[in-house]
Structures are given as structure tokens and as C-alpha cells.
């Protein structure tokens, strides 16, 4: 097996020996160190094989022994290379491919993040890029421990992080800092007052003396739980009042929309494509866009086996906004009101436990309006430090 491989690399020729003294030819060539391989006698002649380098120097021996040699087969790498001699581009291409493959392994191709919950990926990506870790970064120049230290120092939310480069992929593992729990300042005496007007539904007093009871109506700023507590023995002590006071409250919110108005509508839209490979970015299309246009970028990365490649196409959607007059119908206005109502509940009334809403629509010549009365159940306790003069 190994010998055959060596023979293949050196190349060998299978040839026919014709003449009177083929034995003499074999003897002479063997004595001169040219070892005849696979010699086989036939009826009228012989076939044998010799290494290519031996075959080139064997002509005088053939002449001396009175035989004629005729090449039948050629095997091995030198013949294969000779076959493609005219196509040297193939060889150059192969060499370039190998060089590029080895060279490209020295760069970071992709960055993968794990363990991110509150920190945004783009924030961390920017921070890494500032420290030199980005798609297309030259791996040997990276000082990963310094990068880790600097990012942990600069971004407070990062409790621990590690950047590992596996092949051409940079794996960023982050452990975010645990938020400090709210610790009740038990030493500071405080009262609990009503944060807004409402009807008390239930009171759960842990510390302090409840001044109101369930069913009481309170206004904003009313004392609900007092920090001054009188012991059964008659002593008075000041404590840090703590209670959960659930009350039914009412809020009103008005939403107004103009019947007719002007809004900027995108017109004259155009798209431009840019190809990004590692750190190189160049345009694919030659669409010209004026400076007054507004652009929106959309990046699509190439994935191979669920792995992001460092090749992406960025589409730039350019559009020019021009003022456009609109006229809202009643149903359209109600649809917009519904969305606004939903958003208000989601963001402004997120702490309320149950909400009951009463909507009242109205319209004038120039406006649509919606007044909503929200009846909520919420904790109205507000802590107010007790100042003793």
C-alpha cells in the first residue's frame, strides 16, 4: 500500500519489451539499479513497469540488449500534473483556495451572545466593537481578558462575562448582575397616606396603626396608617408603617383626534442594496438617491447550518415624505381610539389589579373624541417620612 503510494507519487510507466534478449535487458537494468516492476512474460514479448525517473535513463540499456521498448500505460502524479499543465489556472485556483481558507481562519466571522436578558445585544455589540471584537477582527491581535475586564467595568449591568473564540466564532457569555432587592428602611419612621382619591376596599397593615377602615372614602393625602403606635402599657413608639391598602379609584382620560389633518406620506420610494463581507461593504445597485430622502435599513445575513456567516445584504429603503391630507371616518377613529386605549392600560394602568372602563364617544365638526372612565382596584399607599421637630 505504502509502496504503491510512493510509486504513484513518483510516477511509473508500463511498457512492452520486444526483442531477442529481454532477460538481458532485465539483468542489465537491475544491475544498474533500475528495478523492473510487475514484469510479465507474454507469448511474443514482455510487459514490465519502471519508475518514471528510471525509464528516462534506460534507453542505452535497451539498445545494448537489443530490445525495443514501447510505452503502454502511464500512471502517477507527474502524468496527472502534465495532463493539466496547460490549465495551470486550476492549480493556481487550488493553491489560492487553500491559502484563502487558511488565512480567513484568522478572522472572527460571527459573534454569538448568550445569557442576555435585560442588556440589549446591540449595546454589547457596540461595546465589543469599541474594544476590537467585531465581525472581521483579526484574531491574533485580540486580548480577550482585557476586553472582558473593560466591558465589565464600563457596563454596570454586566456581572460577569467571558469571550471565547472557537474557530472563527466569538462566543460571548454574559451573566447579568442581580438587581439589589428593595430593602425596607425599618429604622426610618413613616406614615402611609393616600396616593389618590378612592374607596378603601381592604387593608393589610403590618406595622403602624390603621386610621381608616374598609369602606371608608379617602382623598389624596389622607392619613391611612399612622406611625405612632400606643402600646397596651400606655407607652408610645414611632414605627415604620407598612401596609397594603387596596382601594377603588377612578381615572378619566380623554383621547382626541382631528377629523382632517396633514401627515407625511412616503412617496417616491427606492431601494439600494449593499453587500457586506467581513469589514468590506460595497454597493450592488447603482441607484442614486437625493439627500432629502429618509432611509430605513434592513439587514439580511447569510446563514449556513444555522450559523451566521460574515456575509450580509443591507437593503436601504429610501423614501421621500410629502405632506398628505387625510380625512378620518368614524369607524377609523374608533379603531385608533381602541389602540390608544389599549396602550394607555398597558403602560399607565399596569399596576391596577382590575379595570372597568366606561367609554363615551363624541364628535364635532373638526374633532372626534373619546372620554374613558376607568374604575380600578389598586394599592394607594404612599410612604411619607415622619419628620419630628
Amino acid at each position: 500500500m505504502f509502496l504503491n503510494l510512493i510509486r504513484w507519487f513518483r510516477g511509473f510507466v508500463v511498457f512492452e519489451i520486444m526483442g531477442r534478449f529481454p532477460e538481458r535487458f532485465i539483468n542489465l537494468s537491475t544491475r544498474q539499479g533500475h528495478f523492473v516492476l510487475f514484469s510479465r512474460p507474454r507469448k511474443d514479448n514482455f510487459t514490465a513497469a519502471l519508475l518514471l525517473c528510471d525509464y528516462r535513463t534506460i534507453r542505452p540499456i535497451a539498445r545494448k540488449s537489443g530490445v525495443r521498448l514501447k510505452v503502454r500505460e502511464r500512471h502517477g502524479l507527474p502524468f496527472l500534473l502534465g495532463k493539466y499543465k496547460a490549465r495551470c489556472g486550476l492549480l493556481i485556483g487550488l493553491l489560492l483556495f487553500l491559502i484563502i481558507t487558511v488565512f480567513m481562519q484568522s478572522f472572527v466571522w460571527t459573534i454569538e451572545f448568550s445569557g442576555l436578558t435585560t442588556i440589549s445585544q446591540s449595546t454589547l455589540k457596540e461595546a465589543l466593537a469599541e474594544e476590537g471584537v467585531f465581525v472581521g477582527a483579526f484574531k491574533p491581535t485580540l486580548d480577550l481578558s482585557a476586553v472582558q475586564r473593560k466591558i465589565m467595568k464600563n457596563i454596570d449591568e454586566v456581572g460577569w462575562m467571558s469571550v471565547n473564540i472557537i474557530g472563527t466564532k466569538a462566543e460571548v457569555e454574559v451573566k447579568e448582575k442581580e438587581l439589589k432587592p428593595h430593602i425596607l428602611e425599618a429604622n426610618v419612621p413613616c406614615n402611609i397616606k393616600a396616593g389618590m382619591d378612592g374607596l378603601i376596599l381592604s387593608m393589610n397593615t403590618k406595622y403602624g396603626k390603621a386610621v381608616v377602615s374598609s369602606g371608608s372614602a379617602v382623598i389624596k393625602g389622607s392619613l391611612l396608617v399612622s406611625a405612632v403606635v400606643e402600646n397596651p402599657s400606655g407607652d408610645v413608639s414611632i414605627v415604620h408603617a407598612d401596609a397594603k391598602v387596596m382601594a377603588q379609584t377612578q381615572r378619566t382620560k380623554s383621547f382626541v383626534l382631528e377629523r382632517k389633518g396633514v401627515f407625511d406620506k412616503p412617496t417616491d420610494e427606492a431601494s439600494r442594496y449593499r453587500l457586506r463581507a467581513f469589514w468590506l461593504e460595497f454597493p450592488i445597485t447603482a441607484t442614486s438617491v437625493k439627500q432629502s430622502y429618509t432611509s430605513r435599513f434592513e439587514t439580511k445575513s447569510v446563514f449556513l447550518n444555522n450559523t451566521e456567516m460574515p456575509i450580509s445584504v443591507t437593503v436601504e429603503h429610501c423614501s421621500r415624505f410629502s405632506p398628505n391630507i387625510y380625512s378620518l371616518s368614524q369607524s377609523e377613529a374608533q379603531g385608533i381610539f381602541a389602540v390608544e386605549d389599549y396602550l394607555y392600560r398597558l403602560f399607565s394602568l399596569s399596576e391596577c389589579e382590575s379595570i372597568n372602563a366606561q367609554r363615551h364617544y363624541a364628535e364635532t365638526d373638526s374633532f372626534y373624541s373619546m372620554d374613558v372612565l376607568y374604575e380600578c382596584e389598586e394599592d394607594i399607599a404612599v410612604y411619607e417620612n415622619l419628620v419630628v421637630n
Binding site: P22, E23, I26, N27, T30, R31, F35, S39, P41
Partner: protein, 94 residues
């Protein structure tokens, strides 16, 4: 007594493998035949005749003739060769 002396001399000449060391290093031709399918000839001086049925090898003072069918020279060097094929007979020619 004489027999014992001869045996001890033979033991000295033979090693643990049971062959004579003197023979191993001698310049005489050495022929090994494996079954009837191959023969190793060491100390040959050249091939005198080579065909599918007969291979005649010069061993200096004598020559060796191997007859058979499908005979081939598997390997050849200036002083040794390996013959493959179906060997029917071995003949020494003085």
C-alpha cells in the same frame, strides 16, 4: 566421547532458531520455496530464461530451472529475486 564432541560443536554452530549461522552468512546461493506458489532465490547472478512456463536463473557455478505455469518475477534485485506462480518442478543444471 567422540559423539559428544561432535554434538557440542553442532550446538555451537546452531543458534536458538535451529539454523546454522555459518550458512546464513555464506556467499552460497540460498533458495527458499514456499508451498508451490513462490520461491525466493538469494545469490542469483541473473535471469537466463524467462517465460510463463520456465524461469532459469544463474547461480554462478550452476543454474536453477523452475518449471510451472503462470510464472512471474515478482521482485528482482541484482542478487536476489522472487518467483511467483504455480511451480511444478525445480531442476539444478550443472
Amino acid at each position: 566421547m567422540n559423539r559428544k564432541k561432535i554434538k557440542s560443536e553442532q550446538d555451537k554452530q546452531n543458534n536458538s532458531f535451529g539454523f546454522n549461522i555459518k550458512d546464513a552468512f555464506s556467499l552460497k546461493p540460498r533458495i527458499e520455496i514456499f508451498d508451490n506458489t513462490s520461491a525466493v532465490i538469494d545469490g542469483s547472478c541473473g535471469v537466463l530464461e524467462y517465460s510463463e512456463t520456465v524461469i532459469r536463473v544463474s547461480l554462478g557455478e550452476l543454474s536453477l530451472k523452475l518449471c510451472g505455469r503462470g510464472l512471474t518475477l515478482k521482485c528482482i534485485s541484482p542478487t536476489s529475486l522472487i518467483v511467483g506462480g504455480f511451480i511444478k518442478s525445480v531442476e539444478y543444471i550443472m
